[in-house]
């Protein structure tokens, strides 16, 4: 079965003023849709057709560049839309809060590490909170790579991800990537991050 562009759980205007409606619409209907279509074209009538996206990404080193780029683009954006929500959600609680404290010292320290990774990724890419062998780490990847890929420097399960391709923020923030990253922080859907953590 072909991959489908996922519907968003909220309107394009719902993340205003942090992310504007026009950015949301283009990001979803053009960029994400493009990755979805290109992924389907890249796997049609190949051994990858019918496999789950996670399974495909795990074997990235053996796939074409088109599968790597578009498979990553398909998965990453799906995660992105889900780990943010209108108004965000209350701070992490319970086991996720404990784990963040254990591996970063505090939520504020985690925030600093995550923002730093997002701001300093040169060119296009993503910054991540990753569950790696039961530990939490922050990493970043170029282009549409992600921690599920066997080519990633830091491998594990992505719990939270921020898109720092310029298309994610340029219409509203232009060259001010740090402003976008700080705005993103207000939108994090910690319930979804916790759900992925409990996996």
């Amino acid at each position: 079965m072909a991959f489908e562009l996922p519907k968003l759980g909220y309107d394009y205007t719902a993340l205003e003023p942090h992310i504007d409606a026009r950015t949301m619409e283009i990001h979803h209907t053009k960029h994400h849709a493009g990755y979805t279509n290109n992924l389907n074209n890249a796997i049609v009538s190949t051994a990858l057709e019918g496999k789950s996206i996670e399974e495909i990404l795990k074997g990235t080193s053996g796939h074409s560049t088109a599968v790597r780029n578009n498979g990553g683009g398909y998965y990453n954006h799906d995660l992105y839309w889900k780990v943010i929500a209108p108004g965000g959600s209350p701070k992490p609680e319970g086991v996720l809060q404990d784990a963040l404290n254990e591996y970063f010292g505090s939520l504020e320290n985690f925030r600093e590490a995550f923002v730093q990774a997002a701001v300093t990724r040169f060119g296009s890419g993503w910054a991540w909170l990753v569950l790696q062998d039961k530990k939490l780490v922050v990493s970043s990847t170029p282009n549409q790579d992600n921690p599920l890929m066997d080519v990633a420097e830091v491998q594990g399960v992505p719990l939270l991800g921020i898109d720092v391709w310029e298309h994610a923020y340029y219409l509203k923030y232009q060259n001010r990537r740090p402003d976008y990253v700080n705005a993103f922080w207000n939108l994090i859907n910690w319930d979804e991050v916790a759900r992925r953590f409990k996996g």
Binding site: F122, G123, N143, E166, Y170, N175
Partner: protein, 194 residues
């Protein structure tokens, strides 16, 4: 050695409607300027403090390479445009393009494809190889062909910041408009001065 932002060789509005004044304001006034500032901060007290950009491009890594190459790349990019410029290559460059690509149209087609398909942020280039032949290459992020011993003649910036305010996701439309402002007099001069 302190690096400076070179003057833009035209008004910020001079490339309208192909590249908007607003895009130039950010691209030149913010991005290019930031690369210059970062490079000055990073080279201070480093082994590259007295290096020129070409030496940095050939030898540096990490932040010094990224910012140094981006300073060079943007100066090269902004220096090749005019709405009233020459629309096709001249003299020996014309011959070299025809000999390497078959025809000017074929070259435009291949270069446009290279610019459209570079995944992520980066640059498409027309370069001259050591043996005198011409080639089209793509570089990711700050990459520059000087690093591989090739001589750049023409470049297209395909970082999204180069076109997102004007064209959003429609990179091919930006590339189509790019050809309307390339001044082939400048490119031909670069070729004759190698």
């Amino acid at each position: 050695m302190s690096f400076e932002l070179p003057k833009l060789p035209y008004q910020k509005s001079a490339l309208e409607p192909y590249i908007s004044e607003k895009t130039i304001e950010f691209h030149y006034g913010k991005h290019h300027q930031a690369y210059v500032n970062n490079l000055n901060n990073l080279t201070k007290g480093s082994p590259f403090e007295n290096s020129d950009l070409e030496e940095i491009i050939k030898k540096a890594d990490g932040g010094i390479f990224n910012n140094g190459a981006q300073v060079w790349n943007h100066t090269f990019y902004f220096g090749q445009f005019s709405k009233d410029g020459c629309k096709e290559p001249m003299d020996q460059l014309k011959e070299a393009i025809e000999s390497s690509f078959g025809s000017f149209d074929k070259f435009v087609e291949e270069f446009s494809k290279a610019a459209a398909t570079l995944f992520g942020s980066g640059w498409a280039w027309l370069v001259r190889n050591d043996d005198g032949s011409l080639a089209i290459v793509q570089t990711g992020n700050a990459g520059n062909p000087l690093r591989d011993g090739q001589k750049p003649l023409l470049t297209c910036d395909v970082w999204e910041h180069a076109y997102y305010l004007d064209k959003q996701n429609a990179r091919p439309k930006y590339i189509e408009d790019f050809w309307k402002i390339v001044d082939w007099k400048v490119i031909s001069k670069r070729f004759s001065e190698i």
